[in-house]
């Protein structure tokens, strides 16, 4: 029997969801050797900028194409939207070549967000891998800003090398302020790095959290996500306590075209954030 579908929460329902809103490039920032962020402001100052952490937009580079990007800034910064990505295809390559003042089209915000309200009063475990950190970043900003609403907040974050760790300075500041339990690990490092080296899943058993009530949010490459899920399960978290971010070939972004279909779900509307128990049986199937 197909799982029950959830109502899709969105920050704002766009009257014309297939019609892009025009945004101007305000700033470009290089965050690591291959990851960059692009800050965008709407031409229409009345455009509603609210979004739920985890939601995405479809970004259209004129003459090139459209692709999905998770909004990757603190939702409290309402004057702009930010997309963080690296060059992996035609659209991201074109985005990288944009200059301040150039115009792009955005549709959104789309999809579901991280369950920050359900996390209130509980230990929160965030697991991020690679550029998946930028997809969790807006949620982490909210957790840090509203820190007193949550119990222990931990982040396990894996990357290829120390130079690939995004937001590292801010993460360290939160750790030093006692707001965040931070566990960073990399696949390889030079002697200058004194932190962990090894796969992220090996750090999960060390997390200080109440397994019976903690809520986990996992975002990263799907292979990493699967191994993190095994360890979170071994740590005692039930699938109902875990939310994961899935990435599929999203094209229309509004559940019409079917490109991102995963079993009974459209990742663009029922996701990209899913409660793990709803998609558990679908994750390891080569085709659904």
């Amino acid at each position: 029997m197909a799982p029950m579908l959830e109502t899709v929460p969105t920050a704002a329902v766009q009257p014309e969801p297939m019609l892009p809103e025009l945004f101007r490039v305000q700033r470009l920032r290089q965050d690591s050797h291959d990851t960059f962020a692009i800050e965008l402001v709407p031409l229409n100052p009345a455009f509603p900028m609210a979004f739920v952490p985890g939601q995405f937009v479809m970004a259209w580079v004129m003459g090139v194409g459209e692709a999905p990007f998770t909004l990757s800034h603190d939702p409290a910064e309402t004057g702009h939207w930010e997309l963080s990505t690296r060059v992996v295809g035609n659209v991201t390559r074109a985005l990288r070549q944009l200059k301040e003042g150039d115009i792009v089209g955005l549709r959104g915000p789309l999809g579901t967000g991280w369950p920050l309200e359900q996390a209130v009063g509980r230990d929160v475990v965030l697991v991020a891998g690679g550029v998946g950190m930028s997809q969790l970043w807006p949620a982490l900003c909210v957790l840090m800003r509203q820190r007193k609403n949550y119990e222990r907040v931990s982040l396990v974050y894996g990357a290829r090398t120390p130079e690939d760790l995004l937001y590292y300075t801010q993460l360290r500041q939160w750790k030093e302020a006692g707001l965040l339990e931070l566990y960073c690990t990399v696949d390889r490092a030079t002697r200058a790095w004194k932190g962990h080296v090894g796969v992220l899943s090996t750090l999960i058993p060390r997390l200080p959290c109440d397994s019976a009530s903690a809520l986990a949010m996992v975002c990263g490459p799907e292979v990493m996500t699967r191994f993190a899920l095994y360890e979170l399960g071994a740590r005692g978290l039930a699938p109902e306590q875990i939310y994961i971010y899935l990435q599929r070939n999203m094209q229309c972004g509004i559940g019409l075209c079917g490109h991102c279909q995963l079993g009974p779900f459209f990742v663009c509307t029922h996701g990209p954030v899913f409660r793990y128990d709803r998609v558990q049986s679908l994750l390891t199937k080569p085709e659904v």
């Binding site: 690679g130 690939d164 002697r191 004194k194 191994f227």
Partner: protein, 155 residues
């Protein structure tokens, strides 16, 4: 510290969790307590593998020397984990370097002594082999994941 006080420390280390205390009694004589400062080299590639380390505190980097790139850390080992299985398997040589990157408190076993005790008492030998196999399996799985380069652009 004498061997009588080392026994509960060994028993309390996760590696020996649940082991029959009588078996631990057989190997406590092979153990000594040790502290190592940051930068200390526990062993170097190619040296005889004559020690087995139970890490109680601190962090150890397992490193490989890569020509024209220098030392690369391929894994770190933390409190509650162990360093080294080469003491158990021929040719009893280390295959990597191990360097202390955060001051370490450890119980260090003499590898030759451990091997002899394992040969004398196969219950002990089997217990050690099962536990070392778990460590090796965990590290093999981790290495496979690292080889997948899951954070790469094409992941």
């Amino acid at each position: 510290m004498n061997t009588q006080t080392l026994e509960p420390i060994i028993r309390g280390h996760p590696f020996f969790d649940g082991v029959n205390p009588a078996l631990i009694g057989l190997i406590v004589g092979c153990a000594r307590n040790a502290r190592f400062e940051e930068g200390h080299i526990l062993f170097r590639e190619g040296d005889p593998a004559d020690s087995f380390y139970l890490i109680r505190d601190g962090r150890v980097a397992v490193e490989a020397m890569i020509p024209q790139r220098g030392y690369t850390t391929v894994q770190t080992i933390n409190a509650g984990e162990v360093v080294g299985w080469s003491w158990l398997l021929p040719p009893f040589k280390w295959h990597y370097d191990a360097r202390v990157i955060k001051p370490v408190r450890a119980v260090v076993f003499d590898g030759k002594c451990l091997r002899e005790q394992c040969e004398k008492n196969h219950d002990l030998g089997y217990e050690m082999l099962k536990r070392i196999s778990q460590v090796i399996a965990g590290r093999l799985e981790a290495t496979r994941l690292q080889l997948l380069d899951v954070y790469g652009a094409n992941a």
